[in-house]
Amino acid sequence: MIVALSIFLITVGSIAFHFWSPWWWTEVASNWGNMDDTILLTFWITGAVFVAILFFVSYCVWKYSYRKDRRAEYKPEDKKLESRLTWATAIGVAALLAPGLVVWNQYVTVPENAYKVEVFAYQWGWKYRLPGEDNILGKTDIKYINDENPFGLILEDPNGKDDLLVDAQELHVLKDRPVKFELRTIDVLHNFYVPQFRGKMDMVPGIVTYYWLTPTRVGDFEVLCAEYCGTGHYAMRGRVVVDEEKEYKKWEAKQITFEKMLAKNRKNDNLQLVKKDK
């Protein structure tokens, strides 16, 4: 009796917790609201199975509790029932899978007009690079990284000259403009994750990974590293600010191009050399 009741209460309690606990996802700030929809669909289908099975168990434990004068039913198999259950499950699973694959297809297909932004991860922080006026991100190579050229742009690549380098933890993106994050790391694995955007992808040294989204609401969001990357993992936080056009332009105007940064760094180096000579 107590056992049956407990299983019943656990089931009811879980449902109540689901609907009334304060813990739920943050308000979405990108076009990936349909990921939330697939989660909700999954909740409804799996929730129904959860409740049905546990109520059934609870009923069985209550109804068929041991009595000396009674014998269990002897029924090793029931082909019909087994095949019905199998088919019902297969249909349920297909209902979960199909919409999931549709959304995944959208997630991995980047729209052509997406604005490319490089997210640059290192132990333990973030930098960003915008393509500049030509809308093309210049090529990079890890061998080119030094104090003068912290992003490791290939000096010979003309496309890199006008790239805007954001040597700060904060990135601004324009509301309603699709953006493709090109994810690059110079050391270990990282993952560029903003809970409100829903998207996620690991950054792997040696390759450039990506995902895309369209910011849908103005706001100031925290960036977290979502792939364990060493002792400082938990402290690897950045910020993404979604702006309307006016604010965005203001911020963009403050960023300097690779060419200018290089010139400035070289001048500094020369100054330091001069100082040393003295």
Partner: protein, 609 residues
């Protein structure tokens, strides 16, 4: 062999259908043994009996105790981590220690506790007894297997004492971080971890060959494959999986050891490490992830399949009812085992591998839900119209159904590639895998220990203590992991030493952390009750009668209980039926042991097995 045997079976069932016929010797016919009786090693001293034992029963107990001992360390580590998460202000742990404890906790629990306990522990104890063999096929190799495991554990624990401490790379040991500065234990602890895993795989292979060959070759006369208890099917299939999966881990470990010690670049691309450019070039970190998860996903089933098998037997015995859909259960075990090699990259949807793989692996992953669901249906249909004895093993089995169902369903979230994107690397994942491959199998372990304890010691464990242990463990762990899923929805990432006051994480989420930690401390402490019960009952427990649960399977039919060296006395048992003939109409008792010949139960309407 099988053809001739089928023929005799048919002859037998004709007789059984005709109850009026007088018993004839024919209906009890069982084919002759194909192999001569095994020659056993007989120990002569205390050392060869209890330490370097070649008797599978002792080896099983050695494996189990070593695994449980190591697991206790894993439990204590989880306490330390949870205290840090609940009260980050205390400054209780350094970030590096936190990550080291996370790593060691994970690896210990998955490999050194669960794998060793289910296969090394229950495998050794139950395979020979349930198959009707005198011992494993190769007792000496079996002994070596255990001692290789001991050395692996010692090497693992030694990493706590090397400079830099144990590795803090996370239990997945992903390179490059596993072997580059910036991760605790990147040059000492990680090497010991890799060596320990290599030793474990070597030792496990010795044991695993034994389990497979014993099941295939040394079954008693009449014990066809389709008469084997599901426990054996589970352990057998899991061992086959392990034989295919562990080599991937082994080469992964070897290659990473070379990358670290000799400067090769299997997994290491050109990279900068804390401002310094490394000499590696051209390696692929994702290759390691493929190798790791090609092992890692089957590993989930290496733990789960024995639990599936054992819980099937516990449910059947303690509800005095035939397991529902035995053949479907067997095929589900085999099918899940086979499919488990085609789903590994669902751990890698957001790893940076080619995103188009997502379609394939999401589909295979959701397909595996079908045989798994069938198993759940068959467990609950076994309860339906049963005669359910609420003994300790039954309580734990019910706990398993609740937690496994919960964890299995959340697997449908994570397996479905789109749903995984927002949830991966959050506490939703942590909650999911603890529920499905932590709590659920552990509840089966407890159920199994309460069930087979009398077989090992000849005494019963204390029922009251066991019930207290059950309720705290079951309700407590549900209270730990159920709410944890919702932290994942909020977006709390896993492997965070502390979450600070992130703008999207409100106070209540931090409060929930405290609640979970308190539950962890209570559940952990309740295991002391279990340990006390485990050791004290060996002396103080009520003497068990023979076959105390009135089970049918062979391990309870030995001439002595606990079984002696060689298990079966002079003659090996003969098997006439499957182990699930419970509550057969027309039979005198509500159970018919596998060794009971048809001539003794004339009138019982047994279905042919």
């Amino acid at each position: 062999m099988s053809d001739e045997y089928e023929h005799k079976l048919e002859a037998k069932s004709d007789y059984a259908g005709d109850a009026s016929s007088v018993s004839t010797p024919d209906i009890d016919a069982v084919p002759d043994a194909e192999l001569p009786d095994q020659e056993l090693y007989h120990s002569h001293s205390w050392w060869t009996t209890y330490v370097f034992s070649q008797d599978a029963k002792y080896i099983g107990i050695q494996y189990a105790l070593t695994a449980i001992g190591t697991g206790l360390l894993g439990l204590v580590l989880s306490w330390l981590m949870r205290i840090q998460l609940a009260w980050p202000g205390l400054g209780w742990l350094e970030p590096s220690s936190y990550y080291q404890f996370v790593t060691m906790h994970g690896m210990i629990m998955v490999v050194y506790l669960l794998t060793a306990l289910f296969l090394g522990g229950f495998g050794n104890l139950l395979i020979p007894l349930m198959c009707g063999a005198r011992d494993m096929a190769f007792p000496y190799v079996n002994m070596l297997s255990y001692w290789a495991f001991v050395v692996a554990v010692v090497v693992l624990l030694a990493s706590f004492f090397v400079p830099g401490g144990p590795t803090g790379a996370g239990w997945t040991l992903y390179p490059p971080q596993a072997i580059t500065a910036g991760t605790p234990g990147y040059n000492g602890g990680i090497i010991l971890m890799l060596i320990s895993l290599i030793l474990f795989v070597a030792g496990f292979t010795m044991g695993g060959l034994n389990y497979i060959i014993t099941v295939l070759q040394l079954r008693a006369r009449g014990m066809t494959l389709m008469r084997m208890p599901l426990t054996i099917w589970g352990i057998f299939t899991a061992t086959v999986l392990a034989m295919f999966a562990f080599p991937a881990l082994l080469v992964g470990c070897l290659m990473m050891t070379l990358d670290s010690l000799l400067g090769t670049s299997f997994f290491m691309p050109a990279m900068v490490s804390l401002g310094e450019t490394l000499t590696h070039e051209g390696g692929s970190p994702i290759l390691f992830q493929h190798l790791f998860w090609f092992f890692g996903h089957p590993e989930v089933y290496i733990v789960a399949l024995p639990a599936f098998g054992i819980v099937s037997d516990l449910l059947s015995v303690h509800s005095r009812k035939t397991i529902f859909g035995y053949r479907m259960m067997v095929w589900a075990i085999v099918g899940i085992g086979a499919l488990s090699f085609f789903v590994w990259a669902h751990h890698m949807y957001v790893s940076g591998m080619n995103p188009w793989f997502g379609f394939f692996f999401a589909t295979t992953t959701l397909i595996i839900a079908v045989p798994t669901a069938i198993k759940v249906y068959n467990w609950i249909l076994t309860l339906w119209r049963g005669n359910i004895v609420l003994s300790l093993p039954m309580l734990f089995s019910l706990g398993f159904i609740v937690t496994f169902l919960n964890g299995g369903l959340t697997g449908l979230f994570l397996g479905n590639v789109t749903v995984d994107v927002p949830l991966s690397d959050t506490y939703f994942v942590v909650a999911h895998f603890h529920m499905v491959m932590g709590i659920a199998p552990i509840l089966v372990v407890f159920g199994a220990i309460y069930h087979w304890y009398p077989l090992v010691t000849g005494r019963m464990m204390n029922e009251t203590l066991g019930k207290v242990h059950f309720w705290i463990t079951f309700i407590g762990s549900y209270a730990i992991y159920f709410p944890m899923h919702y932290q994942g929805f909020v977006g709390v990432p896993r492997r965070y030493y502390e979450i600070y006051d992130s703008p999207y994480v409100d106070v209540s989420t931090l409060l929930l952390n405290k609640f979970i930690t308190i539950a962890v401390l209570i559940v952990g402490a309740a295991q002391l009750l279990f340990l006390y019960n485990l050791f004290a009952s060996a002396r103080l427990g009520k003497k068990a009668e023979k076959n105390p649960w009135k089970a049918n399977s062979l391990e309870w039919q030995t001439p002595q209980m606990p079984p002696e060296h060689g298990n079966w006395g002079k003659e090996l048992p003969k098997v006439y039926r499957w182990p699930y003939d419970f509550s057969v109409p027309g039979a005198k008792e509500d159970y018919i042991p596998q060794t009971q010949p048809p001539s003794e139960i004339i009138g019982a309407k047994v279905e042919k097995t």
